[in-house]
């Protein structure tokens, strides 16, 4: 057990230590400062801008940024719909997998364009290699979009930026070429060395000891696994994601993949400190996120390693903790660590079955997605956090006897309106979705019997988890839910799209409006946002708005299950 605990401590500290220099590097890229990698990437970027006819030095207003962002997304949306619905006759399909139905293609496209990677299909049988490659492309694009959107807010927060925070295409391309691409190559090579396949050949065969012929799916997996981890995408090459022995072969790859989940989300916060030249502020943000993360993590590890009380009552000892649905090569602690990192960051890849987590760990996984800002997705995690900051600034600004201001800009009615809408969007989508499906199921249990494999509280958790995962753009599934139906495909697709774009548009709009305002110099009476006290305030806002809104729903699901098992 101690070995397992030290394993996750190494992963966490290792990620922080790597995130520090990476954050500085990302900060330099967005600030336009010179980096050691310029010589390598300048020609590449120049070629891209030359081909596309984009002038990367042309500054954009926040509205132009949003237009660029939505245009990129819309174009790729149609492209992906076309490929996914015509995979059967398109090339690179050695296993002769079928094309997707329209509703599944809609769900999958929205899911990948929105960085959710909710998968209502299984990679081995549901997509061709061309389909996988297209989805992999989106894993770069959606992560790059998230990072670029976040960079826009960073630049807008910078002192002296009056309304024009950089060029969106420039930020987007550089996020992909200078951050995601090199990191993905490094991670992919490590995976490759450890046995993850990277080939365009079809299924392989071997004869087992029993004498059966076994078909083994393979394909260009190493490349996709790297970016799905790094870009908080989570859409696995194979159906069972990183629990699959070819996707995540051993403890070493597990460490690398798990660190990849939290690396960029953490680094973005340090990039913030570099860009604003406000290191203390970045540490405040990082501190609040880390406290939230640890509060989710520590009880989860405790729950998983304590095992299942129902099994314990049968007199069976569980020295390895609760091992249902977990891989023996990772163990319960590392699986719990993965479960929390993947949900807290909106990644959504899994190395264990979340359906089989003990009830409270399942709840903490959901809470991570409900808050969606303790590290959060690449770029978008901070954007969600930004909304909480704005609300905290408003209340605590008043508490020190001034009309609220954030980094020298007055927060007024218009900004509050946007922040309030974005803050209530997430509870609305999750609760309304779950309410709709609960209503349907409760009133026609026979018609919808195929939805739930488990009755009662656990079945409720499955539905709640699905919408939470969609709304958090997480993409992991509790599983156990019969979700490849038009109802789930379409409703989750709508939730994913709304919860992706509105929470990006909101913070960019607020930051853009604030940056156009007059700068109010700091005085002794100004609220300091880089202190522990303010951090506590932000934390309280997160707990009361984001977490407690779900308290009634969670008590019907995991909490009821927990008390029922005791």
């Amino acid at each position: 057990m101690n070995m397992e605990i030290s394993g996750i401590i190494i992963m966490f500290i290792g990620a922080v230590l790597l995130a520090l220099p990476l954050g500085r590097y990302i900060g330099k890229i967005y600030s336009g400062d010179r980096t050691w990698a310029d010589r390598l990437f300048n020609p590449l970027d120049k070629a891209i801008f030359k081909c596309s006819g984009i002038d990367p030095s042309k500054e954009m207003s926040w509205k132009q940024h949003l237009a660029a962002l939505l245009t990129i997304n819309l174009l790729w949306f149609f492209f992906s719909m076309f490929i996914l619905m015509n995979m059967s006759w398109l090339p690179l399909n050695p296993d002769a997998n079928p094309s997707m139905s329209a509703d599944l293609a809609f769900n999958t496209t929205v899911s990948f364009v929105s960085n959710t990677n909710l998968q209502h299909y299984s990679g081995e049988t549901g997509v061709s290699y061309l389909g996988q490659l297209v989805l992999m492309l989106f894993q770069f694009i959606s992560a790059g979009i998230g990072m670029a959107a976040c960079a826009v807010v960073f630049l807008a927060m910078r002192e002296g930026t009056s309304g024009k925070p950089g060029n969106f295409y420039n930020l987007f391309v550089k996020s992909c070429t200078r951050v995601l691409l090199p990191l993905s190559i490094a991670v992919a090579v490590i995976l490759l060395v450890n046995g993850t396949p990277m080939t365009f050949k079809g299924k392989d065969q071997f004869v087992s000891l029993q004498g059966d012929t076994v078909n083994v799916s393979r394909g260009p997996a190493a490349a996709m696994v790297a970016i799905k981890q790094l870009g908080t995408n989570g859409g696995g090459f194979f159906g069972v994601n990183s629990a699959h022995p070819l996707e995540n072969p051993n403890y070493i790859t597990n460490i690398v993949e798990n660190m990849s989940i939290i690396l960029i989300p953490m680094a973005m916060i340090f990039a913030l400190g570099y860009i604003l030249k406000r290191k203390r502020f970045a540490w405040m943000v990082f501190g609040v996120m880390t406290v939230g993360f640890l509060l989710l993590l520590i009880p989860s590890i405790y729950q998983e390693s304590a095992g299942n009380p129902a099994i314990a009552r049968m007199g069976i000892s569980q020295p390895m903790g609760s091992m249902e649905g977990k891989e023996v090569r990772f163990g319960s602690v590392a699986s719990a660590f993965w479960a929390i990192t993947t949900t807290a960051t909106s990644n959504g890849s899994v190395n264990a079955m979340h359906d089989s987590l003990t009830p409270l760990t399942g709840m903490f996984a959901m809470l991570g997605m409900m808050i969606n800002a303790v590290y959060g997705g690449v770029g978008v995690g901070f954007l969600n956090f930004y909304i909480f900051i704005i609300i905290a600034v408003f209340i605590s600004g008043l508490m020190v006897g001034r009309t609220p201001e954030f980094l020298g800009k007055k927060v007024e009615a218009r900004e509050m309106k946007i922040a309030a809408i974005i803050a209530l969007l997430h509870p609305l989508l999750i609760l309304a979705g779950t309410a709709l499906s609960s209503y349907l199921y409760a009133h026609n249990p026979d018609v919808y019997a195929s939805w739930l494999n488990n009755p009662g509280s656990h079945g409720f958790s499955e539905m709640l988890y699905e919408y939470t995962s969609s709304s958090a753009n997480n993409g992991s599934g509790f599983e156990g839910l019969g979700d490849n139906t038009p109802f789930w495909n379409i409703s989750c697709g709508i939730v994913m799209a709304l919860s992706r774009y509105l929470p990006i548009i909101g913070p960019i709009a607020i930051a853009g409006m604030l940056s156009a305002k007059k700068y109010v110099p700091e005085s002794a009476g100004t609220l300091k946002t880089d202190t522990a006290t303010f951090g506590i305030m932000v934390f309280a806002v997160i707990v009361i708005i984001a977490a407690l809104s779900f308290f009634p729903a969670l008590s019907l699901g995991p909490i009821a299950e927990y008390f029922g098992m005791k």
């Binding site: 609760l431 309410a435 409760a442 002794a524 008590s555």
Partner: protein, 682 residues
């Protein structure tokens, strides 16, 4: 008046009765709609009333007993009444305060001067003050009560303004200067003045202020709007939480009564701050009025909390009104006796405080120095000197360069010694007055500014609030710097001309700062209008009063400091009560959520951490707590959270501890306590 009135109880009986009546009148949907948070409670109450009728009519048995539902309905109604009462009592107090000021200007006979050509020229006719219109002229003589606000067009009078300011010493008001305004209700003690009416009846600043306090024309301030948006956002979140709970409960086969739904909702939404929000705003204006400051808008009070820079006139604010003579320095070859004699003689007819202080310093009796056939030369801005001529003697005293001119023109030297004395006195913040007799310099009198006691500490307090103080003075830069250092102001404008103030304000505003200034003269009006908070003295000209957004009835230049604190208190009260209100939700969740589901999921008993007696008692306790916390916090809302200049971070820590942590703990204790009582019946 400003101070002892504050002690007058919060619930003065007549105010209480009026407010109680208003709380029912305010139940009108049109009024309720202005406050989105309380409006939702209003809707909840209507729904519950319908449920009660439904049960009473025998329509259902699944909604719990009739008694229980009626009790919930009544508590919701009481919650609304409490919130209305908070607003009503704040209004009533504000109106009472303004009313007591207005009482001074009840119907008074006015000596109306008929316009020339009407019947006779300048005929005086006695009319009630209510018949006076803007632009009319009236006459006031010793013993008259001034019938209405106006501006003196002719004459000078001493006036007792104690009815307004509480200050018993009479003040002098005269035509033409910056002290030409008179206020209705004050009494003329001597002399005779002709006054032009400046405000139409019902349009005085006080009338405007009363209208501001009253519901109808009260506009929400920008910060109030933003906070209302945030609170509406919270309310919407909880609407979502409560509405979606219905299908969840269907799924879990847990019937939830309408009463429980509405109770959960009302407890979660921020009713505490929602109910007190407008009371806080009114109380802010009311506190300003108690400090004898009339505000022309609620926004001005709010802005005061944000001020970064205060422009303060030196005289009267930083230094005690007038300079005093502190030293006689004779030049070589002149005896002290000779010099002091001349100084006293030159000051005999000098009515200025400086002149009087010279005689005071000399310790002589003016009667001993009376001279025959003397001609007094009054001070004029051109000569910048004054003096006395008798016989062959010409004594002059004045600014160094003025006397130098006189001396040099007569061909006499200006002694080196006098020049160095002048420089030395100026460097020490004093004002040198040179005295000459028959164009020969006798010596230098040192006048010193006396810095008000305690002013340094007040500036220190302002600095801790993050407010920069700027002294405005007509003195030369040398003197100005000395006094600025001694008084502890951050910056100064020396040899200030009216446009200098304006330029300084513009410069500060360009760098994003909010500036306040106080002024009285017509030439202050542009700067008063330019400043974010412009406080005009009541004694000032009408133009100044129109230009500013506050009027100080006490004419006290240090009032700005109080105004800043009132503004900060207003904002802090909003912030802390919002925090308190939202923090309360934690306990309410733990009271109500287990109660909702315990019937069908008994295992959830483990979540009932307060060990509340039964689902009914838990819900009742939470709603009762939610209701009674409003009146309990009314005194705080009206008084305002006290401001301490301990720096923003320390202040946040302090308030977060009291109102945040307190807001989490108090309801746990409160709800448990109420449950212990309620559990006797439910």
């Amino acid at each position: 008046m400003s101070k002892h009135n504050m002690k007058k109880g919060f619930f003065d009986r007549s105010l209480f009765r009026e407010a109680l009546q208003q709380s029912f009148i305010k139940l009108k949907p049109q009024t309720m709609f202005r406050n989105p948070v309380m409006f939702t409670v209003w809707v909840g109450t209507i729904v519950m009333t319908a449920v009660c009728i439904w049960i009473a009519a025998g329509g259902t048995t699944s909604q719990g007993s009739l008694t229980y539902n009626i009790i919930i309905t009544v508590i919701l109604l009481v919650t609304l009444l409490f919130a209305n009462f908070a607003e009503a009592i704040a209004e009533a107090r504000g109106k009472a305060q303004a009313g007591s000021l207005r009482k001074t200007r009840a119907e008074t006979p006015a000596k109306y001067i008929q316009a020339p050509g009407d019947i006779f020229v300048e005929e005086v006719k006695i009319v009630p003050s209510s018949q006076l219109r803007k632009g009319d002229l009236f006459l006031c003589e010793a013993g008259d009560i001034i019938p209405i606000d106006g501006e003196i067009v002719e004459g000078l009078a001493t006036i007792d303004e104690s009815a307004i300011t509480g200050e018993s010493a009479p003040v002098i008001r005269e035509a033409g200067g910056d002290k030409s305004s008179v206020t209705g209700g004050t009494k003329v003690l001597s002399d005779r003045i002709r006054v032009r009416v400046t405000t139409a009846p019902g349009e005085s600043f006080l009338d405007k202020m009363i209208a501001l306090v009253e519901g109808a024309s009260r506009q929400k301030t920008p910060n109030e709007i933003a906070l209302t948006i945030l609170l509406s956002g919270f309310t919407l979140v909880f609407i979502i939480v409560c509405v979606t709970l219905k299908p969840f409960a269907d799924y879990a086969n847990t019937p939830i009564t309408i009463a429980a739904f509405i109770s959960l909702f009302v407890c979660l939404i921020p009713t505490t701050i929602g109910g007190l929000l407008s009371a806080i705003g009114i109380a802010g204006m009311d506190r300003a009025l108690r400090a004898n400051v009339i505000t022309k808008s609620g926004k001005a009070v709010e802005t005061a909390g944000d001020l970064d820079t205060l422009l303060l006139d030196k005289t009267g604010t930083i230094t005690i009104g007038n300079r005093k003579a502190t030293h006689f320095y004779e030049v070589q070859g002149v005896t002290k006796e000779q010099f002091v004699n001349a100084a006293v003689q030159a000051s005999l007819a000098d009515e200025t405080p400086e002149g009087k202080s010279i005689i005071e310093l000399s310790g002589r009796n003016p009667a001993d120095h009376q001279v025959q056939n003397a001609t007094f030369i009054p001070f004029s801005a051109e000569t910048r000197s004054s003096g006395i001529d008798f016989g062959q003697t010409r004594i002059r005293k004045g600014a160094a360069d003025a006397i130098r001119n006189i001396v040099c023109r007569a061909g006499n030297p200006f002694p080196e010694e006098a020049a160095s004395l002048v420089k030395k006195i100026a460097a020490e913040g004093g004002t040198p007055l040179v005295v000459s007799e028959n164009e020969q310099v006798l010596g230098v009198i040192e006048l010193q500014d006396i810095i008000k006691p305690g002013i340094r500490e007040r500036f220190e307090r302002l600095r801790k609030m993050g407010v920069k103080t700027v002294m405005v003075t007509g003195d030369n830069p040398l003197t100005a710097r000395y006094i600025a250092n001694k008084a502890g102001v951050d910056d100064f404008i020396a040899e200030a001309k009216p446009e200098d103030k304006m330029n300084y304000i513009r410069k500060e505003q360009q760098s994003g700062k909010l500036v306040a200034m106080m002024g009285d003269g017509t030439n202050d009006a542009p700067a008063l209008a330019q400043a974010d908070v412009g406080v005009a003295m009541n004694s000032g000209t009408q133009a100044a009063k129109e230009a500013g957004n506050m009027v100080d009835l006490d004419n006290d230049p240090t009032k700005l400091i109080e105004i800043v604190e009132i503004g900060k208190q207003l904002l802090m009260t909003r912030g802390t009560l919002t925090t308190f209100s939202i923090a309360n939700d934690v306990a309410k969740y733990f009271a109500i959520v287990p109660a909702l589901f315990i019937a069908s999921l008994p295992s959830l008993q483990g979540m009932n951490i307060m060990q509340l007696h039964s689902p009914e008692s838990a819900i009742l306790s939470a709603v009762i707590f939610n209701a009674i916390i409003i009146p309990l916090l009314i005194p705080l809302a009206l008084r305002g959270v006290s401001y301490k200049p301990i720096g923003a971070s320390a202040l946040l820590r302090r308030n977060l501890l009291i109102y945040g942590l307190g807001g989490i703990i108090v309801p746990f204790a409160g709800i448990k306590l109420i449950d212990l009582i309620v559990s006797n019946w439910f």
